[in-house]
């Protein structure tokens, strides 16, 4: 039997290939760590160690102007936070600013994506146009909108030419210098700056929805609105979730618009948690207290992210 005699040889051959494969796998194992190492080392130094140090600092009474004496105070900074009315106010304003901004960004982005998803000419041109606010640095967008809302900026100019000033809106009304209008202006600016991200994300997701679903909906006599609601929306739901998570995180953490336009004012009416932490650290020099606020922000972000990831998992499983 020829087959029998060939068995041992093929077995040794197979074992040696196994061995070679194993060694190769081992080498790729090690190489995985080698390739990952530079990035990880840098991240440890610029992200993880600073965060750990921040946690440690938040347990100390540490002023920038007295760097030599920083007594350990335990949770005192956190206890102070609970009794600081400004902290609670900033927390509420953060929620208002973040939720309202992201809601506007979301709706505007959806509208733009629906429009861009039609088969029209110059689509690439319009898509480029929509992207522009995203590439403008936040600090410059903030300045631009601050200039639009000055006492004789564009908004007051338009109101003036329409003859609308003097009634509900006083003439030469400085929008950013009043507590009641500063926050809405910030939200408007944030909507302008942030909606392109949503538009691009939604557009990409919409283009991935299989076209036979629309075909089927049309054959069944569904109107445009119905097919949007029953085909498009379910098709992009996962993207909606992820995009709004990222939008929330970015808006929550962003400081450049507020820094440039109001610096948290007037009278703290636009102070968000991040702004408060910044003011405490670099305005007042209370680094211990500021890092305590930063840690609260970290925990809040962690909770929001965890909730979203949970929702995302459930959504993906249900599809």
């Amino acid at each position: 039997m020829t087959a029998l005699s060939s068995v041992p040889r093929s077995q040794t051959k197979r074992r040696s290939t196994h061995w070679r494969q194993f060694r190769r796998e081992l080498k790729r194992y090690q190489l995985g760590y080698v390739f990952l190492a530079p990035a990880m080392i840098i991240l440890i130094f610029v992200d993880f160690v600073p965060m750990a140090r921040g946690m440690w600092t938040s347990l100390h009474s540490f002023s920038l102007f007295r760097p030599r004496s920083k007594p350990f105070v335990g949770l005192q900074n956190y206890r102070d936070l609970l009794h600081d009315s400004l902290f609670w106010r900033a927390l509420g304003q953060t929620a208002y600013y973040t939720l309202a901004s992201v809601a506007c960004q979301f709706l505007l982005g959806l509208l733009a994506a629906v429009l861009l998803n039609q088969s029209v000419r110059f689509r690439a041109f319009f898509r480029g146009l929509v992207l522009i606010p995203w590439v403008v640095p936040g600090a410059l967008a903030g300045m631009m909108f601050a200039l639009l809302f000055t006492s004789n900026g564009l908004v007051n100019t338009v109101l003036y030419h329409l003859g609308l000033t003097g009634g509900i809106i006083p003439e030469n009304y400085p929008w950013l210098s009043h507590g009641s209008t500063a926050m809405p202006v910030l939200i408007f600016t944030s909507a302008w700056k942030g909606f392109p991200f949503f538009a691009v994300m939604f557009l990409a997701a919409m283009q991935a929805v299989p076209s036979d679903l629309y075909e089927a909906a049309r054959v069944d006599g569904a109107s445009k609105a119905r097919s949007f609601w029953h085909v498009t929306v379910p098709g992009i739901r996962a993207t909606m979730l992820i995009a709004s998570l990222l939008g929330l995180i970015w808006t929550f953490n962003s400081i450049d618009l507020i820094y440039v336009m109001t610096y948290g004012g007037p009278y703290y009416s636009t102070t968000t948690l991040v702004m408060l932490a910044y003011q405490q650290a670099f305005g007042v020099g209370q680094v211990g207290y500021a890092t305590a606020i930063a840690m609260v922000i970290l925990v809040l972000m962690g909770l929001v992210t965890a909730a979203y990831l949970y929702a995302y998992r459930r959504l993906v499983r249900s599809i």
Partner: protein
């Protein structure tokens, strides 16, 4: 029926082709032409929303300063066209310097982050090793880190190393957000490459480093480019680190320099308009042209995450 034949016949004349049948009635109540008109109208409105702020800055930047004050400022167009604001901008402020500083910081950040992340992204995309999932998760989470939480400790740390008010402080600190982002983006690019090329090279006896440098990197040139452009933009836009770490005017980046102009006690509106125009418009146009790369980057991190 052959394809060629069916192509030559208008769709609705092909017998028995259900899927190409045109809808007899459009239930939305508009004729297709009219619907397109609404789409165009909507797109133009969105376009106006995007562009009007720039236009207002552009108009203001060519007005003489005295015409920007009081009710005169409310004139939509000025009779006196002047480039004085732009001249002042370059004379009074080290404006070209701000621009160069921003470019330097952004280029260095893009180079460092893209090259380091290329290795990390490839490791996450291709190598199987214990802890890979955790490393990927860690990098993804870092992307969502509140920068204020690392800003204050980094400031204290840099201060003790005398790194405050140096470009290096930014080169180092910008990795905090650029590396997680670009690693994740490149991971997406690499995992979409066809495995066959690498397998073929492996069969030919090529080592992993050779494969990475000679095969993977060259065929992912677009991906590397997109990542670098994205990092460039992130660094170009950055404000918080720059305004905290940099204190001397000669090292200001564009965002910090322009924001500083806003804070002066005498507010020269025309100058500010000119400053905003010249720091946003050229790059906004450039990046809108590069949108192919940007769209890829914007969606890479999220959709595939």
């Amino acid at each position: 029926m052959t394809k060629a034949l069916s192509k030559s016949v208008p769709d609705d004349e092909v017998p028995g082709s259900v899927h190409t049948a045109k809808p007899v009635t459009d239930t939305s109540g508009h004729r297709p032409r009219e619907r397109h008109r609404i789409t165009y109208l909507g797109l133009i409105l969105v376009g106006c929303f995007v562009l009007v702020p720039f236009l207002w800055m552009l108009i203001g930047s060519f007005k003489p300063t005295n015409e920007l004050l009081g009710d005169q400022g409310k004139a939509l167009l000025s009779s006196h066209f002047t480039v004085q604001n732009y001249v002042h901008l370059f004379k009074q402020y080290d404006y070209a310097r701000y621009f160069a500083n921003s470019a330097l910081v952004a280029v260095v950040t893009a180079l460092i982050a893209t090259s380091i992340s290329a290795f990390a992204g490839y490791a996450l995309a291709r190598f199987r090793f214990p802890g890979r999932g955790f490393a990927g998760f860690l990098i993804l989470v870092t992307q969502m880190l509140p920068l204020i939480a690392v800003l204050i400790p980094l400031f204290i740390w840099f201060k003790s190393f005398n790194l405050i008010d140096t470009y290096s402080s930014l080169f180092i600190a910008y990795n905090a957000f650029a590396i997680p982002f670009s690693t994740w983006m490149l991971r997406g690019f690499f995992s979409e490459l066809p495995l066959e090329l690498e397998e073929a090279a492996r069969v030919d006896g090529a080592g992993e480093f050779t494969i990475f440098f000679r095969i993977v990197l060259p065929i992912s040139a677009t991906g590397l480019m997109a990542t670098a452009i994205f990092c460039f933009i992130l660094a170009w836009q950055e404000f918080l680190f720059a305004i905290t770490f940099i204190s001397s005017g000669s090292k200001f980046t564009l965002t910090v320099g322009i924001a500083g102009m806003f804070g002066r006690d005498v507010v020269d509106w025309g100058l500010l308009d000119a400053g905003v125009v010249i720091s946003t418009v050229p790059l906004a146009i450039l990046f809108a042209v590069l949108q192919r790369f940007l769209v890829r980057g914007l969606t890479a991190g999220a959709v595939k995450g």
